[in-house]
């Protein structure tokens, strides 16, 4: 009798608990689908807001560089070109530096403590807000590099990239500050993928008489390549979308120039500069530019994820 009663009670409690359980599960389900809703929301909202400009200028928007609110003519070529050039060139500088540093802290050139300190220091730097880097770029980097830029123009002026007189704020400075921003990302991801290469591969290479760098170049780097590539792509996405530091140092000029020593524009710096006080067609055109930026970074990110999945280490 007594036993039956408790069983009955438990059963009743179980009924309520079951309901709570279902509610809990469904709440979690709804919350997790927020991510998808927000992502789709961002894509749709930016697309529909840019629709007016899109139907008006079409794909011509991407290849003309006139940005004239007075005449109501908009083309974002300068900004798109600036985005691509600054991000690719900064990556070009960052990759060897970052991978070199990662090799330095995964090999045993210096004691482990020193390597760990360097490694966590580099990771800490990724936490510095980009607006602070921008401030630093304006007041420290720009005066420091001024002489160097004049030198660059005087001796290499025949190359289109250095063909104009250096101005105070220019695209090359934006590239350099991007290098400072990307270095921690590339270094820490490259370090992680180098660390994941199994020790026995290295020992096997040493065992058949390969020297240290022969081992690194022929065994370790190829094994870690997919991880490093994914890190590089993530850094590329970051560089394209990076706003504050670039906006503060690039000079913000829509006049197109091949030269890196003249002021430039990127899509994100254009948004940061003009969004607050734009109206009419200009807003729609800015949304169009934002849409282009979003598509670019989506492609890069999705490609990076695909790469990780496809070539992730299987040891």
């Amino acid at each position: 009798m007594e036993e039956k009663l408790t069983l009955f009670k438990n059963r009743k409690r179980f009924g309520i608990e079951k309901n709570i359980d279902i509610i809990f599960k469904n709440t979690a389900l709804v919350l997790s689908s927020f991510v998808a809703i927000i992502l789709l929301g961002i894509i749709l909202v930016v697309f529909f807001q840019s629709f007016e400009s899109f139907s008006r200028y079409g794909l011509k928007f991407l290849v003309t560089s006139e940005w004239n609110p007075v005449k109501d003519e908009y083309g974002a070529f300068t900004a798109i070109y600036g985005t691509l050039v600054t991000s690719f060139l900064s990556l070009l500088i960052t990759i060897p530096l970052g991978v070199g540093t990662a090799i330095f802290i995964t090999e045993d050139f210096v004691p482990k403590v020193v390597r760990e300190i360097i490694g966590s220091f580099v990771e800490l730097l990724a936490a510095i807000p980009s607006v602070v880097l921008g401030l630093w770029a304006i007041f420290v980097m720009e005066p420091f590099f001024r002489v160097f830029f004049v030198f660059l123009h005087n001796f290499f002026g025949w190359i289109p990239l250095f063909s104009t007189e250096p101005t105070g704020r220019n695209s090359l400075l934006a590239i350099l500050i991007l290098v400072v921003m990307l270095l921690p990302i590339v270094t820490s991801i490259a370090r992680d993928s180098l660390n994941q290469v199994p020790k026995k591969l290295r020992n096997a290479a040493y065992g058949i008489g390969a020297s240290r760098w022969k081992t690194i170049f022929s065994v370790i780097l190829p094994a870690a390549l997919s991880g490093i590539m994914a890190g590089v792509l993530l850094a590329l996405g970051r560089a394209m979308g990076e706003t504050m530091a670039v906006t503060m140092i690039i000079g913000n000029s829509n006049a197109f120039s091949w030269s890196l020593l003249s002021p430039g524009y990127t899509i994100s710096s254009m948004l940061a500069n003009q969004f607050g006080e734009a109206d009419g067609n200009q807003v729609s055109s800015l949304f169009y530019a934002a849409f282009v930026l979003m598509i670019l970074s989506l492609i890069v990110n999705i490609f990076a994820q695909w790469l990780v999945k496809k070539f992730s280490l299987k040891y």
Partner: protein, 297 residues
């Protein structure tokens, strides 16, 4: 016999020396500017710190020598980050619980995990553009346009992927035996999650969330046209619906001013921002290392 000894002039040894020095040079080029950068920010900003800085309003840029303080921006950053956390943490932890505890690796959870990674890669300024279109330009929040609330929402979009990811990964590290034990003694799923798995993953989740908050606190791009900027003290609850200053936007605005006094204020604000973000990072790193050690024992 000679070949048993290390030979300096052998081409492979010369090549090794060359590449070793190359990687040392790379590391030096990479690290020295970074060390210089941090010390410069801390030195230059630290020298501007005065008690009035924390209590005064910033003066509008002009040729007066006194720039005032950063009180509204400091409070504003705290408020905006808090709003972002209030939105992002429940949503993110809930979503992470679903991914780690309920989903069985089907199409839906794979899609959500993919979406989390994509959302993490969306440029921060796009989050600002999105909130501008959705909230600022439609005046949907009781007719207010630029507001601290809108700024907090924009930041929460940036925090969300971090929170979901750390919850998901933290919960996945909890050994399944714990779940079996709890379910085996008759606990329901939600009791198991709330009483067993979440508490045992608490530290790693908390670390990740705190790092996410620290990152959001330094974000500027989503705020410049959602929260905008304000020179005035935050006096009451109603100020949430008006323009709100933040340290990050203050640095941006005042760095571009031609006046020395405003620039100095930007350095001081950077000092406070960088110092707090770095100390949160270092603290959570130490905490994580400590957790790892205790687990091994």
């Amino acid at each position: 016999m000679n070949s048993l000894y290390y030979q300096k002039r052998l081409s492979r040894n010369i090549g090794d020396k060359f590449f070793t020095s190359l990687s040392v040079i790379c590391a030096l080029i990479a690290i020295l500017p970074l060390i210089f950068l941090v010390t410069y920010i801390l030195y230059k900003g630290g020298s501007q710190i005065t008690p009035e800085l924390f209590t005064l309003e910033p003066n509008p840029p002009g040729d007066d020598l006194d720039a005032g303080g950063i009180n509204p921006a400091l409070i504003g950053t705290l408020i905006i980050t808090t709003i972002a956390s209030i939105i992002a943490i429940p949503v993110g932890v809930g979503g992470g619980i679903y991914l780690a505890e309920y989903s069985k690796g089907g199409a839906f959870s794979r899609f959500i995990r993919f979406g989390v990674n994509v959302l993490a890669g969306v440029p921060s300024i796009i989050a600002g553009v999105f909130i501008y279109a959705l909230i600022v330009s439609t005046k949907i929040l009781f007719g207010s346009m630029y507001s601290g609330l809108a700024g907090g929402m924009a930041l929460s979009i940036l925090m969300l992927p971090t929170v979901i990811k750390t919850t998901d990964e933290g919960l996945k590290l909890v050994p399944n035996e714990l779940r079996y034990a709890s379910l085996g003694v008759g606990a329901s799923m939600y009791t198991t999650i709330l009483k067993v798995t979440l508490p045992s993953a608490f530290r790693s989740i908390a670390t990740g969330v705190v790092l996410g908050i620290a990152r959001a606190a330094g974000e500027t791009a989503p705020l410049i046209f959602t929260a905008l900027f304000s020179y005035y003290y935050i006096t009451g609850f109603g100020d949430l619906f008006y323009e709100m200053g933040s340290l990050a936007v203050l640095i941006y605005n005042f760095a571009l001013e031609p006046y020395d006094a405003q620039n100095k204020l930007a350095w001081a604000a950077s000092f406070i921002l960088v110092l707090s973000i770095l100390s949160v990072n270092i603290f959570s790193r130490i905490l994580a290392a400590f957790t790892e050690k205790t687990k091994r024992v």
